[in-house]
Amino acid sequence: MLIAGHAAIVAGEDEATPDWVPAGAKRRMDPIQRLACAVVDRLGDRHLGPGWRAALPAATALISANSFGSVETTLRFAESVAAYGDRGGSPTPFTTSVHNSAAAALGELLNIHGPCTTLSQGGTGTLAALRLADLWLAAGRAPAALVVVGDHLHGWGRRVVTNLSASPWPVSHGLAAMWCLPDGSGHGRQFRLGRHPANRTLDGGALEADDEVELAHRAAGTERQRAPDLLGAWWPCCLAAVIPFSEPQPLQLRECEAGTVVEGWLATG
């Protein structure tokens, strides 16, 4: 398939929710939903052209991938239960606490009705999401796929993830959006599953020593870059934020967690 557009927002950049999100919805949303809308807005403005929202095919596939989901609203709901009992929980944060809340918001606000799912695949989520987009496009199930990958962590969530991950990089957050098309249906970078004899490798880094050894071993003989080194921070699926959209050289992509490796590669545009 072709990656025909890419945009990312990382912590510290403008995360403002776009105007096309109604005020009431904005108020109720989990931060990951708001960030998803913001990064898709950036993708649309940069790559899909004026009036992109109205022009989106209704049959567009929608794939989101995140590791921790709607941390803030889940916590808010649990706190309301702790404070007011099991019959007194606040329903609003409960409704946005599901992992698929970002995809749900995008589907509703962008009037997308194609195949839709949310992956929660930890440190291999970027390539798992691109793999599924590739399969659905190859099967002719959608004319295009909107892939939104990353996590939103701040405050409590970032502290917990820092404690549990033993990350050698500072823990941060970010979300990337990619516009994917079937081969031959536009311009973009070709994405393929599997290995390529490229002399450059970009991977998501690894938190566990065994995974880092595996990534280094597989990248041996190539110029290796790690996404968290480029970003100066780590979060699950941070590879998605730095996928180079415009450079012409083939590039091997790789993610690894708990010994499971997922590989894909980018050809020329």
Binding site: L62, S67, F68, G69, T74, L75, F77, A78, V81, A82, G85, D86, R87, G88, G89, S90, P91, F94, T95, T96, S97, V98, H99, N100, S101, A103, A104, A105, G107, E108, N111, I112, H113, G114, P115, C116, T117, T118, L119, S120, Q121, G122, T124, A128, R131, L132, L135, W136, A138, A139, G140, R141, W156, V160, L164, L193, E257, A258, T260, V262
Partner: protein
Amino acid sequence: MPASPPLAITGIGCLAAPGGDVAAIRAALAQGGDGLRLHPGCGIPVAETAPTARFTGHLPPVPGRTAALAVAAAREALRDAGASDLAEIGVVVGTCTAGMPESEADFFHLGREVDPPAYRRQQAHRVTQAVARITRCAGPQSTHSVACASAAAAVVEAMEWLRQGIVEQVVVVGADALCRVTTAGFTSLQLVDPQGCRPLLAERGGMSLGEGAGAMVLETVAHARRRGARVRASLLGWGLRADGYHLTAPDPAGTQLDGAIGDALADGGIGNGQVGFVCAHGTGTRDNDACETAALSRRFGAVPTASWKRNFGHTMGACALIEAVGCVLALESQRLWASAGASEGTPLPGIEVVRSTRAGRLDTVLSTTLAFGGTDAALLFGRAERAR
């Protein structure tokens, strides 16, 4: 959309409130067994006033209740399939609550000083890793968390892995454990029926929650033939659509659900008239059952339809695979399993609610699933002969 080749279902595994294996699940379906119980003092506070379908049997010693349920179902399915070449078998899991039972226990005890290891297990893909590690299935992994459609989405990905040559054999699992966040959440939305769910009936007043796991071993027909596997049923088609109507309520007209059903039928090369039985999502909520009835009656007319949510409770992210096991058993035994509790009450019009289990000539069975966040899914199952 051109029809795609059928896939072989060569193994099934299941555990839920009625029991810890497929035999117990089959018996519960045959008897129309009501799996809902009050469980005072079980640690789920709302259970004292609203019945739930809780699994009370033995679980393998796996950290995390959802993971333990998933591993148990996967093991049974792999045993059933006689799977031996484990290194090549992919693992796809659908789960919604994942490690929430453990991490919420910490949270309610410790507040924001939550214990990192427990929180780590909350991540959905830890369930997948547990299944892969313990069953020794070493193929690719994927994890879907799409609320109540999690297992259906997992089946969809597994089907495309097989069709497009990623692997030749997959164990696909749906699992969810009951937890306080789930029960308190649906209580806060006033979606729990204190009398227990009464799906597809006019008197319905909400859902009943449950827990469990379902699993299937899927493989290409060529692979199943090559290893001489017994084919239990075939998997013919899938549909999966964003409803895009509202975060927590389906489109009352069922437009996208109908689209998902149409996609599954086209994928399987099956006409409306060939569907002999529908396993509806049938949660017992006003909105869900009205939406499904609208979509099913418009497309099929008075198609025989059942919901098994009173047998198993609404098992959230697991339900599509627990019900898939029920569909396989229906095709094998040529029986239309009844909706538990449907013999008393007023069936919704437009479809034929199956009120007592009966024999029938089933060629294909459709299963539908709807989810929070607006995801509509349809899976189409066929007799084993289609995949031999």
